[in-house]
């Protein structure tokens, strides 16, 4: 197959996954959250248990007026949703579903994915700054503080896994995975999960969009499709982080019939992690801003450093 066609096909496949998986997670959140609260959730859209609710929501968002505030920094304001959305699309391309099923196989894909997902927060920052709204600015500042606090433990946790596998490529890491890692890398896994939830600004770490305090944070002034893009980026972020967690800590495609059904295993494990993220949102209240910083610097960073030291010790002694 000629190269341009192959590249186009791979890009298309990633785009389709990028448009389908977040909706799947969003619908799961609708239903799981509803049942956890003793409700039914959407029941009408599409006929069967409201399966088309998010499609209907999308149609609604498209119809809404796209407003740019008069005092806003027009260009930055309009570009911000794309800046928030595109990094997760790029990150999704680098995550392998099975040893051979990866859209863009990069040698240092673990580093690449981490770097790219960190760019997503920039969109929130731009949105908050350009909105000319004090609540938006407060939200953006909170998002920035949150990113700074949680990027470090996350990188440290991933570094520990890379050290254990002796590889910076996600394919290599998942290939070197063994069930023993579930125990060995457990502290790192917990640190990664907490940091991922914090970086996605999901409850209990949703101070940047805390609706009872600062309206809707950086997204306050957004309407219509641009607002929908921010929501989509949140769910795309859940997909990326869940798949990343599955590949790094749960062994990705390892499982029964892994040579045929490997991709399914990765997707299933990622989906389970996404359900866990949803569960945490339903069960736990929002942290205060100072509690967030306290948790990051006094608990997660030492824990991640300890995990890194443990991994290093083990690798050196057994090598």
């Amino acid at each position: 197959m000629s190269q341009p066609i192959e590249v186009t096909l791979r890009a298309l496949a990633v785009l389709v996954a990028f448009l389908v998986l977040p909706l799947l997670v969003g619908q799961t959140e609708h239903k799981v959250m509803a049942h956890m609260q003793g409700r039914l959730g959407p029941m009408y859209a599409g006929g069967f248990h409201g399966w088309a609710q998010l499609v209907a929501d999308g149609v609604k968002f498209v119809q809404k007026e796209d407003i740019t505030p008069a005092a806003a920094d027009r260009w930055v304001f309009r570009v911000a949703p794309a800046v928030a959305l595109v990094p997760y699309l790029v990150a999704l391309a680098a995550i392998p579903l099975s040893p051979h099923l990866v859209a863009a196989a990069a040698p240092g894909s673990a580093v690449f994915v981490l770097a790219v997902t960190a760019v997503g927060i920039l969109g929130t920052l731009m949105a908050g700054w350009a909105s000319a709204n004090k609540y938006s600015l407060l939200g953006a500042m909170r998002a920035a503080a949150q990113l700074l606090s949680y990027e470090l433990p996350m990188v440290l946790a991933v570094a520990s896994v890379c050290l254990a596998a002796g590889s910076l490529s996600l394919t290599g890491i998942a290939g070197a995975w063994s069930p023993w890692w579930l125990l060995w890398q457990l502290p790192g896994a917990v640190v990664f999960l907490v940091s991922a939830v914090a970086e996605l600004q999901r409850p209990p770490f949703d101070m940047p969009v805390a609706d009872s305090e600062i309206v809707f944070g950086a997204y306050t002034e957004y309407t219509g499709l641009r607002f929908a893009f921010f929501l989509l980026s949140e769910y795309a972020g859940i997909v990326v982080m869940s798949l990343l967690f599955a590949v790094l800590y749960l062994g990705g495609w390892h499982g029964a019939f892994s040579d045929v059904l490997g991709w399914l295993w990765t997707l299933l494990k990622g989906f389970a992690v996404a359900v866990l993220v949803i569960w945490l949102r339903v069960a736990w209240p929002r942290l205060r801003e100072d509690q967030l910083q306290r948790l990051a610097w006094l608990v997660l960073v030492p824990l991640a450093l300890g995990q890194l030291a443990l991994t290093g010790l083990w690798v050196v002694t057994t090598a």
Binding site: H35, M36, Q291
Partner: protein, 237 residues
């Protein structure tokens, strides 16, 4: 889960784990949602949905209209003279109901009109789906009020050891000065009283079921039985 090690959490089972357990338990339990338009609601007995009119019982005595706290009942009537039944007899007069309307945009569902009606012309019906797009359309004339009559549930059964209703007690009481009447007659009268009681028990009545049982057909049968009421709106002035 790392947050369990936070200094603020105390107790054997940290609160955050309890929260997870509670939500997980709720997830597997059936939901409380009443899917109203698809599933008819289970209404309690004696639900006050709408006031139905049994036109034949109404004597236009105006008691209900006068007792109504917010004056939402409108009654018009005229007298008709009935010619003497037998030659040489006296002509009699009778009230004929021209208009009976209840404005449900004013009604506060106190039920006083139903309480004061001496002839049981007004009844509570559990029917509640009569919302309108215009508030003025909530003024319902006697034709519409009569259509709700088939949805009125039968009265609940009396309590287990309650006294006989006055009407039945009157038949079983021995006639004045006839205290030496044979006891057998009393026994048959008592059996008649048993039969006259409604057999339904209070617990199992489901007005929603009664309301759902093709009210249209029942209303049509009712309408045939009655003299045809003038079409609604014609007597609104």
């Amino acid at each position: 889960m790392t947050q369990a090690s936070r200094p603020s959490s105390r107790g054997a089972v940290p609160g955050i784990l309890k929260g997870l357990a509670t939500t997980a338990k709720t997830l597997v339990r059936p939901t409380h949602t009443a899917e109203y338009p698809d599933v008819p609601p289970h209404l309690p007995p004696r639900s006050r949905g709408v006031i139905a009119l049994l036109e034949e019982n109404c004597t236009s005595c105006m008691l209900c209209a006068r007792e109504c706290p917010d004056w939402c009942i409108y009654i018009d009537s005229h007298k008709e003279t009935i010619p003497a039944a037998a030659p040489g007899g006296r002509e009699r007069q009778r009230n004929v109901l021209d208009r009976f309307a209840i404005d449900f945009s004013l009604c506060m569902y106190c039920g006083i009109c139903i309480e004061v009606c001496p002839f049981d012309a007004l009844h509570w019906s559990p029917e509640f789906e009569y919302s309108e797009l215009d508030i003025r359309d909530l003024l319902h004339e006697k034709g519409r009020l009569g259509q709700w009559m088939p949805t009125v549930p039968p009265p609940p059964a009396l309590d287990e050891r309650s006294a006989d209703p006055a009407e039945i007690a009157a038949t079983t009481r021995p006639a004045r000065g006839a205290s030496k009447l044979v006891t057998g007659e009393r026994a048959t009268a008592g059996a008649r009283a048993e039969r006259a009681r409604p057999t339904r028990s209070v617990g199992d009545d489901s007005p929603s079921g009664a309301a759902g049982a093709t009210p249209g057909e029942a209303a049509a049968a009712e309408a045939q039985a009655r003299p045809t009421p003038p079409p609604e709106g014609e007597d609104q002035k």
